[in-house]
C-alpha cells in the first residue's frame, strides 16, 4: 500500500467509480425533465413510378414518392443530457398476406442537434418558410458568408419546432415484392431517437411515462398508393441529406449482383 504504483491504481479505480456514478446520475436525471411532444403530419402528394434499385439491375420496381406537410413541436425533448434527436418519418403499409405484420420504410430523416453538440455537417438546418421576405444583403457580404459556412445557419423557429410544407422525401420507397401501386391503408408516422450525452438511447414514446408525456398526434390519415403515373422528372426530385454533399465514408463500390 505504499508503492507509487498501488497508489496510482487506487486513484484510477476511484476515478472510474466516480465517473460511472456521475454518468449514471446524469442519465437518470434526464427523466425528471418534463416532455410534451406534439406533431401533425399530413400527406401532400404521392406518386408511384417505375425505377431500378441500381443502375445495373435489370428488374424494374415500383417506387413511391411521398410529399408531406409536417408541423412538430419537439422543443421539450431537448434537456441537459440530449446530444441530438434523430427525427424520421416512416411510411407503414400492411402486407398483402393477411397474417403478416406491416412493412415500414423511412421516407425522410433529420438530425436535430442540441446547442451543446459540436457542429457537424449533417445537422439539420430548417429551411426558411416560403412566405418570409428575404433578408437584405449586407454590405459586408463576404465576411458574413464566410462565417456562415462555419456555424449553422439560424433557424427561423426555436430549436425543436418544425414547420415544413410540401416537403420532398429523402428516400423513395419500394416494396420487397416490387409492386407498390394501389396499396391501401398507408400511413405516415413521425418518430425519433433521442441520443443523450451519456446513457440510454430512447425512441419515441406513445404512452405517458411520469413527467414524459407521450407523443400527441404524429400519425397521418390513411391513404392509398395510386397507380403508376408522374412523367415529369421535376416532380420526383428527392431531398438530398447533408450527408449527400460529401464522399461516402468507406468508399465502397457496388458489386454486380448475380442473376436471381
Amino acid at each position: 500500500m505504499h508503492s507509487a504504483l498501488v497508489r496510482v491504481q487506487n486513484v484510477f479505480g476511484f476515478f472510474t467509480t466516480v465517473a460511472f456514478t456521475v454518468a449514471a446520475v446524469i442519465a437518470l436525471s434526464s427523466f425528471i425533465h418534463p416532455q410534451t411532444p406534439s406533431a401533425t403530419i399530413q400527406l401532400r402528394n404521392v406518386q408511384v413510378v417505375k425505377g431500378r434499385p441500381h443502375y445495373y439491375s435489370y428488374k424494374k420496381e415500383e417506387y413511391a414518392h411521398i410529399k408531406f406537410d409536417l408541423d412538430a413541436d419537439l422543443s421539450t425533448l431537448f434537456n441537459w443530457n440530449t446530444k441530438q434527436v434523430f427525427l424520421y418519418i416512416k411510411a407503414i403499409y400492411p402486407s398483402t398476406k393477411p397474417n403478416e405484420p406491416a412493412s415500414e420504410a423511412i421516407i425522410w430523416d433529420a438530425i436535430l442537434a442540441s446547442d451543446s453538440a459540436p457542429w457537424n455537417e449533417n445537422h439539420y438546418i430548417h429551411p426558411t418558410p416560403p412566405n418570409t421576405k428575404k433578408a437584405q444583403p449586407k454590405s459586408k457580404a463576404t465576411a458574413k458568408t464566410k462565417s456562415k459556412t462555419k456555424q449553422a445557419a439560424e433557424s427561423p423557429y426555436p430549436r425543436g419546432q418544425l414547420h415544413l410544407f410540401n416537403q420532398r422525401p429523402k428516400y423513395q420507397i419500394t416494396d420487397i415484392s416490387g409492386k407498390l401501386q394501389n396499396r391501401t391503408d398507408v400511413q405516415l408516422e413521425l418518430s425519433w431517437n433521442a441520443q443523450p450525452w451519456v446513457g440510454a438511447l430512447l425512441w419515441a414514446n406513445k404512452l405517458d411515462m411520469g413527467m414524459w408525456k407521450g407523443l400527441r398526434g404524429g400519425v397521418s390519415d390513411a391513404f392509398d398508393f395510386p397507380e403508376i403515373g408522374a412523367k415529369k422528372k421535376k416532380d420526383l426530385e428527392t431531398e438530398k441529406g447533408k450527408e449527400g454533399y460529401r464522399l461516402q465514408a468507406g468508399g465502397e463500390q457496388p458489386r454486380r449482383a448475380p442473376p436471381a
Binding site: P118, G241, R256
Partner: protein, 152 residues
C-alpha cells in the same frame, strides 16, 4: 480478479443475449450519432426490429461489424414463418448498405444481428481502438507496468 472479470462478462452476455454486449465504434459512418471511440451497449432480446433502431450487423467471415440504422423493414413473404428482412444505412452515408452486404443478399436478417444499440458512453473506447490499431501501445503499457512494479 481475472475470474471476476470473466464472470461479469459472461453474465452480461447472458443478460443481453448478445455475444458481445459492449463494443467500440470504429468507423465514422454514423457521425454525428456515434464517433470513433464511443462505447456502445447492446441488447439482443428484441422480437422484431423496427425502423429507426440501430442493429449491429456482423456477417460471418467479416473482420468488423457494421453499426448502422435500420431504414426499411419487410417480412419475408416466401417463408412460412414471417422472417424479417432489414435494410440499414449509416447516418453519415449517402446510400444504403445494399452494396456492403455479401453479394446476392440485398437485405439482412435477424440472425445477422448481434444486438441493438440501447445505450452508449462517449469517448471511453478510444484506448481500445488505439490498442487495436497499433499493438505497440499494448507492449509499451505492459513494459511500463512491469518496470513500474519492480522499481516503484
Amino acid at each position: 480478479m481475472c475470474s471476476a472479470i470473466f464472470m461479469y462478462w459472461t453474465t452480461m452476455r447472458l443478460l443481453s443475449n448478445s455475444p458481445q454486449p459492449i463494443m467500440v465504434v470504429s468507423s465514422e459512418s454514423m457521425e454525428p450519432t456515434f464517433y470513433r471511440g464511443d462505447l456502445i451497449l447492446l441488447w439482443n432480446r428484441q422480437r422484431d426490429v423496427q425502423v429507426g433502431d440501430i442493429p449491429v450487423v456482423w456477417f460471418a467471415g467479416r473482420p468488423l461489424p457494421m453499426v448502422h440504422r435500420a431504414i426499411k423493414v419487410y417480412y419475408n413473404q416466401s417463408s412460412p414463418t414471417a422472417e424479417q428482412l432489414i435494410l440499414t444505412k449509416g447516418d453519415n452515408n449517402l446510400v444504403d448498405d445494399t452494396s456492403i452486404y455479401p453479394p446476392g443478399r440485398p437485405f439482412i436478417q435477424q440472425q445477422d444481428i448481434i444486438g441493438l444499440v440501447r445505450g452508449y458512453i462517449p469517448v471511453m473506447g478510444l484506448f481500445a481502438l488505439l490498442a487495436k490499431e497499433g499493438p505497440w501501445v499494448l507492449y509499451l503499457s505492459l513494459a511500463f507496468l512491469l518496470v513500474a512494479s519492480i522499481v516503484l
